[in-house]
Every structure is written in C-alpha cells, then in structure tokens.
C-alpha cells in the first residue's frame, strides 16, 4: 500500500487516521520491508558486547573514575579542555560544530558517543579498535587536549591516586619521569621520552592505557535512547496497532529508507550503522591536508601499540578477531568513513566527517545526486527521488530523535 493511495483514501474518508486503521497496518509492509524495518528497532540491540581488552570495562568504580576524567579540564594544555568540551552530554555528546575546537581546531567533526561500545572501530577512519584506545588519541592530540602521557600520569598521581590504585593497583613511581614526555610528542617532549628507560616508558604507558580504560567504562554507560520510530517497531513486532506512532509521511520515508533509498546497505541494525567504512563521495574541505579516510586508518590501527593485540590490552590474542581479520586497505577504502548512527541525527547538524553538509535536506540531496568522490570511488548511485519522497525520508529521520531529551547519564 503506497502512501499516495492511502492519502487518497484518507481524503475520501475525511480522516487519515480512521482510514489508516481501516486498512490494517499489519498488511502495510511487504515481508521483505517488514523484515528490514524490524531489524532496525532498538529492542533488537543485543546486550553490550564484552570488551576483553579492558579488564575494568564493566566495573562501576572505573565508570565513576572515567566520568570524572571525562569532564576534568586539568587534563589539557590550557586547563580548559576536557572530553566533555567537545562531547556535550546534553547535545548527544557532540558539539554542533563542523570542526571541533579544543586547544586548536580539528580537521574532522566531533562524533556522538552513544552506542560506540558496539563498534569494532572508533573514529571516522577506524584508526582505533576499542573505546579505551580511542580515548588516548585526543589527550595527546595537539589540537584537542594538547597534553602528553607523562603529564597525564603525573595528574593521576596528584588527583586520582586512590581511585586509580583501587582499580589497577598502586601507581608506579613517577619520580624520575619528566613532566612532559611522549613518543608522539615533538621537540623536548619527544627527547624526554627517548631519554626514559624501557621500564619507565612501560610504567607511563600503563597508567596512560588505564586512564583510557576508566574513560571507556564510563562511555559504555552511554547508550542510545528510544525514539518514536522504536515505539512503532515494537508495536509492529507485537502485531499491535501502529496508528499514530508515525505519521503517514514518516512511514513513507521509512519505506524509502529500507527500499529504493538503499539506506540500509550501510545504515543497518538497531544503531543504523554497519560500523564499516564507505566512500560516499563527500567533498574534501579546501585548505585541509589530504584526508584518506580508512585507507590510512587500517595502517594506523595495525601499528597502534594500544590495539587489542598490544602489550596493554587485557585480551587473549584469540579475542582480537576484528583486528586479526581486518580487511587490508585497498582502493575501496580510499576516503571511506564510518557511517554515523542515524539515531538522533536530525538534532545535530552539521553533517559528515568534517561538517561539509549543513542540513539534513542537503544530505538527502547529496544521496539523490551521488556526486563523484574527490578521490577513490563513491559507492553511491543517484537515487532520483522526487522532492516529495525526499521530504518523507527527512521526516522519517526526524522520527529517530530520542523521545526524552534528558541529558545522559
């Protein structure tokens, strides 16, 4: 049953709701459509997957410490930047900016955090393979927190020694560790790292990794919130009346989303992302260094000492299947990025990995026209949807907004 037919029927009957009910919502979807629609509901989200690489992942004390660290601006070069500066709890843990502002300006857009515990790969290019390894990146990024691991270890010793010790055992002696030192640093910060012996480097790395593990324990508690769409799916799954849960336009948008819009190729499952990487022909930002997306990210995650197979991971090598069987970067991965979860997407413009597209309407125009990629090859083909269809698709995306706007957690 098409919306246009429904609409016509509605006009004749004089009330859309009454007509819709009469038509019986259960027969409204083809089997294939219903199967896809049901697969997107939040109630299909499995329990949080274990993170064997993080022994404290599910320890509430770690989550508490991680939460404190997440909002602690002392962990920055200028004393003003915390994770929470860019990942705002009342803004879906993002910042509404095209490119984030920390100590400097980043080259990419801040990503929302809800549900990232389900993703095998973190960042737009997946250059990290766990939440804890990811958290270490911004701390040492010159444009985000602008600090280094020796500085972080000293801060833990000064401000969080007890909470740290309760989780990870006593802090190592940092007496001989200079204030600033890191293998990713520049100039004296790098020189001071090179001057450290292996034991001290290892001690600092371990404290640094544990900071990430505590933050990850907190991030695991940040999960997606139910939307009106989920209420609709639950009713559909239960064979109940779906009337009024989505408007006809939203329902038609959903039909396009799982059908000729081909959105579920990449935005599938209850998080509406496949957590893989795709080149969708998003424009490069003039003036920024070349961004190769996933093709660089694969090399980086394989080389990362904090990956699942590295010395600071708590996992058995057998638990690291994602890393072990990772697809090596080929042409397909040039300028490929992780599809963001579409939950709550309407409430957080601008869009894409560097905020290249300002509005949801323009995002849909992008999909409708499928421009050629600046590098690599776009997986998209023009959809040639009508403006009415695009409006329906947009209406559907709005139905993915969380019902409660209450800040979490």
């Amino acid at each position: 049953m098409r919306a246009s037919t429904l609409l016509l029927a509605a006009l004749i009957a004089g009330s859309a709701t009454a007509t819709y009910r009469a038509i019986s919502p259960k027969t409204n979807w083809t089997d294939e459509e219903a199967r896809l629609v049901l697969s997107l509901g939040l109630s299909k989200l499995p329990p949080l997957p274990a993170d064997p690489s993080n022994a404290v992942a599910d320890d509430p004390r770690a989550a508490e410490l991680g939460k404190a660290l997440f909002f602690d601006t002392r962990f920055s070069a200028n004393g003003k930047v915390a994770c929470g500066t860019c990942h705002l709890p009342d803004r879906q843990f993002q910042d509404d900016l095209a490119r984030a502002k920390g100590v400097g300006v980043t080259a990419r857009r801040t990503m929302p955090i809800a549900g990232t515990a389900y993703s095998p790969w973190l960042f737009w290019d997946g250059r990290k393979d766990s939440q804890w390894a990811q958290a270490l990146g911004p701390l040492e990024s010159a444009v985000e927190h602008g600090t280094d691991r020796a500085f972080i270890a000293h801060l833990i010793e000064t401000h969080y020694a007890d909470q740290y010790a309760a989780l990870f055992g006593p802090l190592p002696s940092l007496a001989d560790v200079p204030n600033h030192a890191s293998p990713t640093g520049l100039g004296p910060v790098l020189d001071d790292w090179m001057a450290l012996d292996d034991t001290r480097r290892d001690a600092v790395n371990r404290v640094f990794a544990n900071v990430g593990k505590a933050i990850a324990a907190f991030e695991r508690t940040i999960t997606p919130r139910p939307s009106r769409f989920d209420a609709y799916v639950d009713a559909l799954a239960a064979g109940k009346d779906t009337v009024g849960l989505l408007s006809l336009q939203e329902e038609e948008g959903l039909r396009i989303f799982v059908g000729k819009g081909e959105c579920t190729k990449c935005h599938n499952g209850p998080l509406l992302t496949d957590n893989f990487f795709h080149n969708t022909g998003v424009a490069a930002v003039p003036g920024l260094p070349e961004d190769q997306g996933r093709s660089l990210g694969t090399d980086q995650v394989l080389a990362d000492p904090f990956n699942c197979l590295g010395p600071y991971s708590d996992a058995d090598p057998g638990d690291c299947a994602e890393l072990k069987y990772l697809a090596k970067a080929g042409h397909e991965m040039t300028r490929a990025y992780k599809p963001p979860s579409l939950r709550g997407v309407a409430g957080r413009p601008p869009y894409m990995h560097a905020g290249q597209i300002a509005t949801l309407g323009d995002v849909l125009v992008h999909y409708n026209t499928a421009p050629a990629a600046p590098d690599g090859h776009s997986e998209l083909e023009p959809l040639n949807l009508t403006s009415t269809e695009l409006a329906s698709l947009e209406a559907f995306l709005v139905s993915l907004d969380p019902i409660s706007t209450e800040a979490q957690p």
Partner: protein, 148 residues
C-alpha cells in the same frame, strides 16, 4: 599465502557468470537476488575435483556479526581431503564490493574439516563466498550463495 590476483579473479569471475546465467544486468542495487540462486551449503567444486560443504557457526547468519565457518572437503567418492589449502574470498555481486574482513583458515580440524575464522557480512542482501581449494587432485574453486 593467497595470491591477490587469483583472489581477485576468483571473486569476480564466478559472480559474473552467475549474473549472466541468471540473465540480470549488472547491479542496480537493492534489487532482489536472482530467483534461482543455489543456496545449498554442500556442492561439488567447479571442476568436480572435490565436494565442499560449509557450516556457518552462526544460525541464522546475522548482519554484522563476526563468526567462523567449518569447511569440509572430500573427494567426489566421499574420502576426506586432509591436506587441502583453502583461501576465502567473497563479496556482494549486486553492489560490486568484497567482504569487510579477510577470513582465513585458522585450523585443520582433521577428517577433511577446516576452521575458517573472520567471516562477516555487513549488509543485508546477496553475498557470495568463494573458496579456492588446492588439494592432492589440484586446484579448484567453489562458490556459495548467502542471502541475508
């Protein structure tokens, strides 16, 4: 170790033939898979040198979940092939892309059974999984179809 050229040829030759046979044009996406797709999980290899059977470790296979497969190789008369070299490849013929992972044989389980790890399908739709089998009778290939 697998030869990338062979892998690539394997990946594309089989689906292209399948598409030609099924009489559908190349890939307008979101079209349903060919109606007469062979979904059997046990079949002779393309040259008839072996019989291959696969058991996905996840039933039903879920989109996006990493899992393993067990592959059994026998000669046409049913004798287990204990020393096969197997490489795995695959993709979505209607989308023109490969697998999101690089699965590998992780163990020879004995009795002609081999453990493959790293299988993952990240989209709904029609997938092909190509096995290249090299055993005492020589190299051969076989393709399995999966619809998610």
């Amino acid at each position: 170790m697998s030869n990338p050229i062979t892998r690539r040829r394997l990946l594309w030759s089989v689906p292209v033939i399948l598409i030609a046979v099924a009489g559908v044009g190349v890939a307008k996406m979101m079209q349903p898979p060919p109606a007469d797709l062979d979904l059997s999980l046990a079949k002779p290899t393309d040259q008839g040198l072996y019989t291959a059977a696969v058991e996905p470790g996840l039933s039903p296979i879920a989109v996006g979940t990493m899992h393993g497969w067990v592959v059994s190789i026998t000669t046409p008369d049913g004798t287990p092939v204990e020393t096969a070299e197997i490489t795995v490849d695959g993709g979505m013929p209607q989308h023109g892309h490969g697998l999101p992972t690089e699965p590998e044989v992780s163990a020879n389980l004995g009795g002609g059974r081999y453990q493959i790890e790293g299988m993952k399908f990240n989209m709904p739709g029609w997938w092909v999984v190509n096995l290249a089998v090299d055993g005492p009778a020589g190299p051969d290939t076989v393709t399995f179809n999966i619809v998610l």
